[in-house]
Amino acid sequence: MATLEVKNLSKKFGLTPVLRQVNLQVTEGEFIVLLGPSGCGKSTLLNMIAGLESVDEGEILIDDYVVNRVEPKDRNIAMVFQSYALYPAMTVRENVIFGLKQRKISKEEIETSLQHFAKMLQIDELLGRKPAQLSGGQRQRVAMGRALVREPHVFLFDEPLSNLDAKLRVEMRREIKKLHEKLGTTMIYVTHDQIEAMSLATRIAVMNEGIIQQIGSPQEIYDQPNSIFVADFVGSPSINLISGILTKSGDSFNFIPDKQQDGFKIPINGYPFKNEPQEGQEIVFGFRPEAISLPNESLKSQLRVELKPTLIELTGYEKDVTFDFHGHEVIGRLLRYSKAELGTAIPLSLDLSEISLFDKSSAKRL
């Protein structure tokens, strides 16, 4: 029942375009994450869906009905904010039921649903307190409770976890995920944190400069980024990007990184090109840090290299090692027991089945 569609949506703040021809289709029960750097238009898009920003051009449809001119309260949505936006002068109870009271719902119904959701979120002990007397995590729960009691068709989240400390953030992230699995309500979630996006979303829409760059499952976004921007934005440490030239020998292509004299090249076999590339085309060769490992015979398509570590950072279970890769700096993620010393070259495997190639001038995936 609860679908959402955004058609050719555009918005300008003064003369600056913040959204350009955005299209998005959300089906019942999806968890869509709008991911992008600050200023990419993701919050504006969310605010427009909520009805808090007016639409310049295009349409927003909730349950197949154009809601461009419908007031926020009549859109069957609820929203959780970054600052939680709790009403400071009201108690937790008053905060949670404020929306229901505006809709003139009977006292008994309000009370039942308050008790139900307060228990679910474990805030039933806090109902008499004022927001100022709550911890960050508790405020977050109250804000969620306020959204939940309205039993909306669509949930909107505007960076709800970014004011929490690291530990609490992971905890609340898991709770939101559980909540989605339990309720099955359509959710739209804005964040700039790619780990949140990866772990929560059924689909991620990566945004930049007012445009949805790519939309797809977290796995697709991570493995097959369709542009350098998406590849670079998603993943930590970031994807390794090396620019160079594509050459052809016989039927197969080779990649020659820039700044080469020693004839080093990487064979490109079986890469699923979307369009046949050209000989001598300038491209960017990308691979994730996990594509580098200690020599591994089981990889089907791989390149054996010997690289010198220039920096080693232990992150816990793994270590991120920076190597000198024929004049380019690359990062590999190795298991922590891997032997690596500064300045001593070690033999490694580069998994070629997980690479991404981009056209240098258009920055699009090849």
Binding site: N47, A50, G51, L52, E71, P72, K73, D74, I77, A78, M79, F81, Q82, S83, Y84, A85, L86, Y87, P88, A89, M90, F98, G99, Q102, R103, R146, R150, D158
Partner: protein, 291 residues
């Protein structure tokens, strides 16, 4: 040398602090003392108990002044708050001409009370002012003589003072409204609250500190009000629009009643003290909590 380094901040502050102690706190004590003496034209320093204070509270002109102060304060406070809050909320609705309108609403604050009084004295002029204007519009029976009416003169002071100061309340409240987290208003809109409900139940309760500041400042202005009365009515007709501040200077500089004048100054000082001390106390405690 080290001693000098260590104490330099105090040495630098010392002259200002000495001036403050003498010219503010010393003078206040001095005034207190004069109010306990028989001083008339010149200060005389033999102690006379609280006779001057008895004389003050026996003086019908002082009663008029206090009564006028109360009328003035209540009306001035309420009307300024009402207009200021209304205008600030209206200006907060994303108005294109906001900067321009704000400039217009606040400019009277840049004018002195003497200029304000002079202008309003002319506007309220019983023959050529508003009365004539309205008569020219066709209401030939219209009378507006508050300026020379013993019972109404005090209200003309309210009119001019509201004109001068209400923009200030608007500015204070507008600054307060602007400091409210935008997301709270968004949340309330999604909750389905009407704009009216949002302001009454959510925003205005958040403005408590602004209410406090505005009330204290307006009270302070009204207790000190002197210039406007002088320029507009000079306390008249007769003494009907007298205020404590006018009473004090009249006694001090025209009636050679220095002792009595000091007694009235002491009363004014104590009134201000009763308002300011709790205010500063709560204000500073709030800062300590947030710091």
């Amino acid at each position: 040398m080290f001693w000098l380094q260590k104490n330099l901040p105090r040495i630098v502050l010392a002259p200002s602090f000495a001036v403050l102690l003498w010219f503010v706190y010393g003078f206040i004590l001095w005034t207190f003392y004069i109010s306990f003496t028989k001083s008339k034209m010149l200060p005389r320093y033999e102690f006379w108990g609280i006779q001057q204070h008895f004389r003050l509270w026996d003086n019908s002109r002082w009663y008029t002044a206090v009564e006028n102060l109360m009328i003035f304060t209540v009306l001035f406070l309420l009307i300024c708050l009402l207009i200021g809050i209304l205008l600030s909320i209206l200006l907060d609705q994303k108005i294109r001409a906001e900067g321009f309108l704000r400039t217009i609403y606040l400019y009277p604050m840049a004018l002195s009370f003497i200029v304000t009084g002079t202008a309003w004295k002319w506007i309220l002029n019983p023959t050529l002012g508003i009365q004539k204007l309205v008569r020219d519009w066709g209401f030939s029976e219209f009378t507006f003589d508050w300026l020379v009416n013993r019972d109404m003169a005090i209200y003309t002071i309210v009119i001019a003072a509201v004109w001068q100061s209400s923009g200030f309340v608007m500015a204070l409240f507008l600054a307060g409204l602007r400091s409210i987290d935008d997301e709270i208003i968004k949340a309330a809109k999604i909750d389905g609250a009407s704009l009216y409900t949002i302001y009454i139940t959510i925003i205005l309760p958040m403005m408590r500190p602004v209410f406090m500041s505005s009330i204290v400042i307006l009270l302070h202005i009204s207790i000190k009000s002197y210039d406007l009365v002088i320029a507009l009515t000079a306390g008249g007709p007769g003494t009907s629009s007298d205020m404590p501040a006018v009473f004090m200077t009249q006694m001090a500089f025209h009636r050679s009643e220095i002792g009595l004048a000091s007694a009235s100054a002491v009363m004014m000082f104590l009134t201000v003290l009763a308002i300011i001390v709790p205010y500063l106390y709560s204000e500073l405690r709030r800062q300590d909590v947030t710091r």
